[in-house]
Amino acid sequence: MTIESAPPDYRAAAEEVVERYRRNPGFLIPMLQDLQQEFGYLPRPAVELVAQSLDIPLSQCYAVATFYSSLTLVPRGKHLLTLCLGTVCYLKGGKEIAQHIERELGVKPGETTEDRLFTYQPVNCLGACALAPVMMVDDTYYERVKTSQIRKILGAYGWGGENGKDGDQ
């Protein structure tokens, strides 16, 4: 079984989060959030161990993991690119920025670039409407973003180079 052959770090991590919340299944969401913090995503073996340890069906863990947008079952890229598509950002040009990012990175919302550099995640609102349109790379905010700046912003994290055309001066 996968559980037996799971790498030891999954077992240790799963045990730790389960213990942290006193084996109470009511804390399944924080447990999975903590687990994701550890690995960057929810690896199946770790989730199986959590389910087994709490004595709940694996399907319950997966129902939760797929329902909430903060939880992901696939590995993320090195940097998380969060684009706000709240009402204000949307009205102030967020949708054009989204199109540019998708074209530039060649990804759809929620996907990761082939080189695993960026995971692109549009969100409903970052609550920073005074800065609209706003995007974040990891913890850094970029305010009043223009489509023409995107390549430069991404470039600072090591994106592109060979396919980069000259931007306007």
Partner: protein
Amino acid sequence: MAISRPITCVEDLQRWREEVDARLRADRITVTVCTGTGCSAKGARAVFKAMGEALAELPEGLSVELKPTGCHGFCEQGPIVVVSPSNVFYQNVREEDVPEIIQETVVKGLPVERLLYEDPVTGEVARSSSEIPFYQKQMRLVLRHSGNKDPGSIEDYIAGGGYASLAKALTEMSPEQIVAEVERSGLRGRGGGGFPTGRKWRSCREAHGEQKYVICNGDEGDPGAFMDRSIMEGDPHAVIEGMTIGAYAIGAHQGFVYVRNEYPLAVERLRKALADAREHGLLGENILGSGFSFDIQINRGGGAFVCGESTALMASLEGRVGEPRAKYIHTVEVGLHGKPTTLNNVETWANVPVIIDRGADWFASIGTEGSKGTKVFSLVGKVRNTGLVEVPMGMTLREIVFEIGGGIPGDKQFKAVQTGGPSGGCIPEEHLDTPVDFDQLWEVGSMMGSGGLIVMDEDTCMVNVARYFTGFLRDESCGKCVPCREGLAQMERILTRVCDGEGQEGDVELLLHLCDVLDAAALCALGSTASNPVRSTIRWFREEYDEHIRERHCPARECRGLFRYEILAETCTGCGACRRACPEGAISGERRQAHRIDQTKCVNCGACLEACRFDSVVKV
């Protein structure tokens, strides 16, 4: 200095307050730096750090206190720095401005003119926040500490009279009296529904069961709304104090704060505040020697809009998928883990200490017949002064948008203001004199909601707005009930085809029919109010729908394909900026000659419009 032992009686609390007051008064000069999310994103942390380093080098004998504070609300002008006692208000402060502020204002007591706020209309310079029009019409009760208190310091909160309401509630009032006081105040839930808070508390208090819970709903999911975030970040102790009073009133011993996952700073500040309150005996066993015990736990949300709905939130707190249930039985009787539960929104809880402190009569004297007190709004969108504002109920939308918000930037025409979050409605110019009031907003097809006020100008297409919100709600629908799951998907399909220029006669009627079904048959409030954006835009902006459908043209020139980009030959200088910006190679032209757009290649991305510095690219 700090009293670290738990405070065990009201007298000790009072003694502690006096000690803190005396110490804070002794520090004559205070420099505060706003570290709310808005200001932080604009570099306030660097300003704070530079300020700390520079202040450390001041000569002996000059005692200056440096404080990080919660949100001032004037996010448009951040980062904001205030120097007290003269309350000089600096905006757009950069790291490099720090030495000058210290030299001039801190040392010499003179203002740095270039950092003061200048009214864009009158040109008047404001020295303190009270001279700025943005603040003059506001009434800051819930936000009273945001902007002048360090949210990370329990002493700062105590100094302003913090936890005095709790002391009063625990020692001078019975639970019954507290419920009656809140009932009499007329406080209604600030999360959207506007249910009378006192009545909710009474039902929960009278419900059978030993174990009861209180919950603070901090899952602020409405796009364009950040009131609750700012309160949790700027004044976490007020939320804790309010919850503790509420718990005492209904007889609960355990509370939960459910905070949206996108708000890490709010979680951090609440965590610190809870730990400090516990350490000082203001949470935990036998609070202030009253025999009442209560504690609060924080849960981070999983990221699902529907969890703002009370039963879905409770399901989420139980570790399940956040699906609402039908509410034949109210959560005040059967709520979290099947126990009687009182759930209120962040702003509602933050109002409670104010009501206990100043009394129900005073609170009820503010506002309108049916809506008492104040309301915090996040004023955003196509408005000059974006930010957080708090106004007495009854103020008109026009006053908020034009007097506090400063109107529409860029000489554009006002078109609508959207209130109530994604399930709210759009209110047109002719109803701008509607007062902020739960019932009156409902009458014009919108609702109070949690307090997002999104201003839209002539460049905003109302059909596209309806599509945006419907798409949002379709995305966030949990899928449990059919009207919401299927109805919203169909509505979005129809709206998309209208926006794409493929609308058909009868589409508007079909939309209205689907709205009726949703209203009547959806399981929870998400579904039953989801028709508001569509219904209100059809009601007030029907001609825009018709123009999309009949003439295949978007009057606001926002829907792709229903307008064209063109270059005005008269004003084009032939600089080539648009040609270089065009990702499709659709623009051609010789240097210094007027350029042209090849409409067959153009994908309407708008890059040329953004690149042009001569306003020669236009939408037609």
